[in-house]
Amino acid sequence: MKGGDGDCYYSRRQVHMANVQTEVMSPVKATRRRRNSLQAKRERLFYILVLPWVIGFLAFTLGPMVYSLYLSFTHWDLFSSPRFIGLGNYAQLSGDPLFWQSLRVTSIYSIVSVPLGLIVSLMLAILLNQKVKGLSVFRTILYLPSVVSGVAVSTVFMWVFNPQFGLLNALLGELGVKGPGWLSDPNWALPSLILMSLWGVGGNMIIFLAGLQNIPVSLLEAASLDGATLWRRFWSVTIPILSPSILFNLVLSIINQFQTFTQAYVMTNGGPLHSTLFYVYYLFENAFQYLNMGYAAALGWILFIIILVLTMIVLATSKKWVFYQGE
């Protein structure tokens, strides 16, 4: 993203010039001083307007982050005061099989559901970018699932996945296939939740659709005249132009999928046999059921670092595969 300096009322150079003052006032300098005070006023206004955000950032984000780092070095049950134990929580984590299990579950879920979600949402966006009648109806229908989320959706999908009376096994039954036990089967519970995540790709789809509508028709026509096949046009024109949207969706999907919680809490309680023990679910359990606040803080910091590193890796590689039009 560009900063947009050029759009602003006063450029940096003017700010700088206005700051250089001498003792003797000439008419020109008087104007400058007036401009200087106007600039100062604008700057003050900027800070007044963003003040709520700055206060909120300090009180609800930066402050808690620092506090949580401190807590991660303590043993704390919420009632007595925190007892400093150094790296004790982190040492305990490295030997905690449930911690590794939660990391494994969350990683598998993200590694499968993120690319799968991107592919499905891109496919839907491409379909919605064709010139056929009734598109706005299809767009509404395909976006509808991503409007809803949370407990109600989890409840509905518990019913969809019901082994005996659920939608999926009813459909499979019509085809003469006996469906699996879905959420009640340790081998199928995580795949079930991955399947469910595909239902909510509408947000990515809309971002892709916006990106597709930015592709100049002339470019595709030119490629077509040069004899490029549909497949070739997709890889050489559509994907490069869409790459900023892919980057945006990729980063946000990773961040979101790593924080999956509600499905695990409502639908499976992390089971069966810890097969859906998601990271944030395990963190929540430690914090609010076992009252291991220090341990939970350490879990939180590790998640933060994982997401930070993954985001950095994606952003670093993006220089190689993301193209911005007009560059």
Partner: protein, 280 residues
């Protein structure tokens, strides 16, 4: 030659339609499964093979589901939180978004990058310390931990509004400035009236987020009289395991308002995302 290209085009169109219909069915079927179960009497919920079209329609499932637990209370609680966060969110994000779009100051770009980077912060890392802070303020079992933060801006909304504001022609504000209008009256009289697609987008996202939020209420509200709809439904699952018709009736009632809001706001909503999306 003309014929074959016509044939190819209509085959292509047919494929597009078939795929769109298949995906649309996949989108709608879970909703259908929910509504159809909500209208089945107890015995036909568990009939095998499953009944695709419910008959007779058991409308009494709805009042039954609404009275087993104090749903009206949960609805009022949710509404209080939704309306409060909406007010907080609009007030703070419009002002901050405007400042980033139009005013110039030292440190602005650095600050903007900090705003954007908070989007990448997992809530999980803030969960424990925020709880410690709010509980020391005595805010547990009040709506305050769910409402107050919305008055201090949100990175995503700030970004969205900033993008929109930057697309508004400057002449309007210049004219207002010449007329001697101050900053706040410029925002209220000039900016807000032309930005309502973006405002509605922010509102829909905020309503959707608050309405669907589960983790926040789960952490802070543990008295039943304070429950939101999401918490109430979760409680309901525990108490009525197996009463799928009632659970589905309750889910339908909870999902319906969000679906209706989206349906009526969608043109502006999707337009708002497309317009502000990823232009910069």
């Amino acid at each position: 030659m003309v014929m074959t290209s016509n044939v190819r085009r209509s085959v292509g169109r047919a494929i597009v339609y078939v795929l769109l219909i298949i995906f649309s069915l996949a989108s709608l079927l879970p909703f259908y499964w929910m509504v159809s179960a909500s209208l089945k009497p107890n015995y036909s919920v568990f009939s095998f093979p499953p009944q695709w079209i419910p008959w007779p329609l058991e409308w009494s499932n709805y009042p039954k589901a609404m009275t087993f637990v104090p749903f009206l209370q949960f609805f009022v609680n949710t509404l209080i939180i939704v309306v409060s966060t909406l007010i907080g969110s609009l007030m703070s994000n419009i002002l901050v978004g405007y400042a980033f779009a139009r005013l110039e100051a030292r440190g602005k770009n650095v600050l903007f990058y900090i705003v954007l980077s908070t989007m990448m912060l997992p809530y999980a890392v803030l969960m424990v310390p925020q709880y410690a802070i709010f509980s020391s303020l005595g805010w547990v079992n009040t709506f305050l931990p769910l409402i107050v933060p919305s008055f201090f801006g949100n990175a995503f909304f700030i970004f969205l509004l900033r993008q929109f504001f930057m697309g508004i022609p400057r002449d309007l504000e210049d004219a207002a400035a010449i007329d001697g209008a101050g900053l706040f009256s410029t925002i209220v009289r000039i900016i807000i009236p032309v930005s309502w697609p973006a405002m509605i987008t922010v509102c829909i996202f905020q309503i959707q987020f608050t309405w669907n939020d589960f983790l926040g209420p789960l952490i802070y509200l543990n008295k039943q009289s304070m429950f939101t709809l999401a918490l109430g439904l979760n409680d309901f699952i525990g108490q009525y395991t197996g009463s799928w018709n009632l659970l589905m009736a309750a889910s339908t009632v909870i999902l319906l308002p969000i679906l209706l809001i989206f349906y009526f706001g969608q043109r502006l909503f999707i337009g708002g995302i497309v317009m502000t999306g990823l232009k910069d």
